[in-house]
Symmetry: C2
Subunit: 318 residues, 2 copies
């Protein structure tokens, strides 16, 4: 944290997701001078005025204090159900293409420019989409030159994203619904019934789940997930361990598929980076160790650096 | 349907599951003379008296009309949360072991005998459990001698069961949570949002989902399921087709894993039977055709035949 009285900020950046937002006052070197969080996610707001109001609440005082400071936002705020439906950039997409795709809502004084999401739709496979993670990729590549030529950037979350990078561009990516799958199975399926709500984290159970996916994943996830019940019913695992077993199993299935996908793309010997919330990245790194392929880099949210790099590329800030 | 005035029934059979029950007046040749259904599933009842009352409501008039007629029930009624916790029979389990494991609740005049479920717990893998499906297996093997020596019996459902049969015994089985997974994803995940509630069945979308699992299943189910959203977002599949795409994808993943599991067990050239509700079996058979391995037999619920065979083995009926 740098004192705001010394550093003149270069940008207001907003990572505006479906359920919440984080806003940053960003220094010219990418440092976050101040952070604000709010629950005003894009899916909780409807209509131009609601976004204007939420935007003003989170950034109004910053904008008043720093007249003319550029503002850049990424995430679901740019979706069809957000503030403005910003057309996707198509793979391969790098900093230049994303900066060229920035759009600003009409009719709002000092509305933010919004970063486009990215669409992968280049093969006979189903398309894939991201909004927000492209900015984290830009930030990670900006911070770590070693990732630019050829690498794989993994962003764990409700919808994890695996991005293949070549020449500073996202050439292909894949979404894994791991986090959401865990949540719905725990809250709404028979698997949650044996799991106490207040069990402490159990690293051993997590590793058992990861190893089950690694060693026997060919048995299929719809089968293996039933073990998060049958191990309890048969008294082989205490009920307090079942949730972490399920978490490990699901993350293990993501890694099993993702690492193979990465190998098929010829990226096996190239850098692997984890980007995201530290506690979640730690779980993924522990799981990657079980696959004997730990990440080379583990980075906290790189959206501030990504937003600054995109603002510079677009000429919004010096 | 045979006239009750002509045929003297041999057994009252009950398939008593978690959420509902079906009761049958069964003729000596296994024919169902009369069927009754009720919503009094085992998970909706609590305590001995509630089960006595529900049992009386569904079978009281039959028992009054046929004094001394034996009664046999299978399913979750025999679980820890059912009427009586009947200990599992362990694999390998056949008609004799299941008949030897019948138990009757104390203190109830004319309470049914209850069939034990089956536990598979013979390897380093997690255990697996079934309650009710073992009786369908007994019925299928009783009806079709060709299944006895060596076969695979698949019972689609909320929790599908795949059973390996050798020498008339269940030697191993695996649960796939396919039906429940579909329900929770559709009702509680982001995937359901684009799916209209009233779309007609779409066999083409179903086949597309099955083929995606067959051809690209190595990409992982947590990834592939996201296509049930991204195909809609990108306008590649009408929203009305997304639910059947997801259904096909999930069933396809079950078949991909199940057929490989069956092959590893050396059952590739042995008979494959589908047992269960005709509409669901038809979906599975359509999917099996996409894997070029259609079932050799497709049977409606074989629990009545199974209950009669078990009652005979136990000496309850002649």
């Amino acid at each position: 944290m740098v004192s705001a009285s010394v550093v003149v900020p270069a940008l207001i950046g907003v990572d505006w997701g479906s359920t919440s937002l984080r806003a940053w006052l960003i220094a010219p070197d990418g440092t976050v001078i101040e952070e604000r969080k709010a629950g005003k996610g894009a899916s909780t707001l409807s209509g131009h005025d609601a976004f204007v109001k939420a935007f003003d609440e989170v950034s109004g005082t910053w904008r008043a204090a720093h007249a003319g400071l550029p503002v850049l936002a990424c995430g679901m705020v740019g979706s069809a159900h957000g503030w403005l439906d910003v057309p996707y950039a198509r793979c391969p997409a790098g900093t230049a293409a994303l900066a060229a795709g920035l759009r600003r809502p009409d009719g709002a004084e000092a509305a933010p420019c919004i970063v486009p999401g990215v669409l992968f739709d280049d093969t006979g496979l189903p398309p894939d989409v991201m909004r927000g993670e492209e900015t984290q990729v830009v930030g990670a590549l900006h911070l770590h030159e070693t990732l630019r030529a050829s690498s794989c950037v993994v962003m764990p979350g409700t919808h994890s994203k695996w991005a293949q990078i070549r020449g500073g561009q996202i050439v292909r990516f894949a979404t894994h619904m791991t986090g959401e799958l865990y949540a719905v199975l725990r809250q709404h399926s028979v698997l949650g019934r044996l799991m106490p709500g207040d069990a402490p984290a159990d690293p051993d159970a997590f590793v058992q789940g990861v190893d089950a996916a690694r060693d026997h994943g060919e048995l299929g996830l719809p089968h293996q997930m039933f073990a998060a019940r049958s191990l309890g019913v048969a008294g082989r695992l205490p009920n307090a361990m079942l949730a972490d077993y399920l978490s490990g199993l699901l993350i293990g299935h993501e890694l099993r598929a993702g690492l193979q996908w990465r190998a098929v793309a010829g990226l096996d010997s190239q850098p692997l980076a984890l980007v995201g919330a530290p506690d979640l990245c730690a779980r993924y790194q522990a799981a990657l160790h079980r696959f004997a392929r730990p990440a080379d880099l583990v980075l906290d949210n790189t959206a501030p650096e990504g937003l600054l790099a995109l603002a510079r590329e677009a000429g919004l800030t010096a």
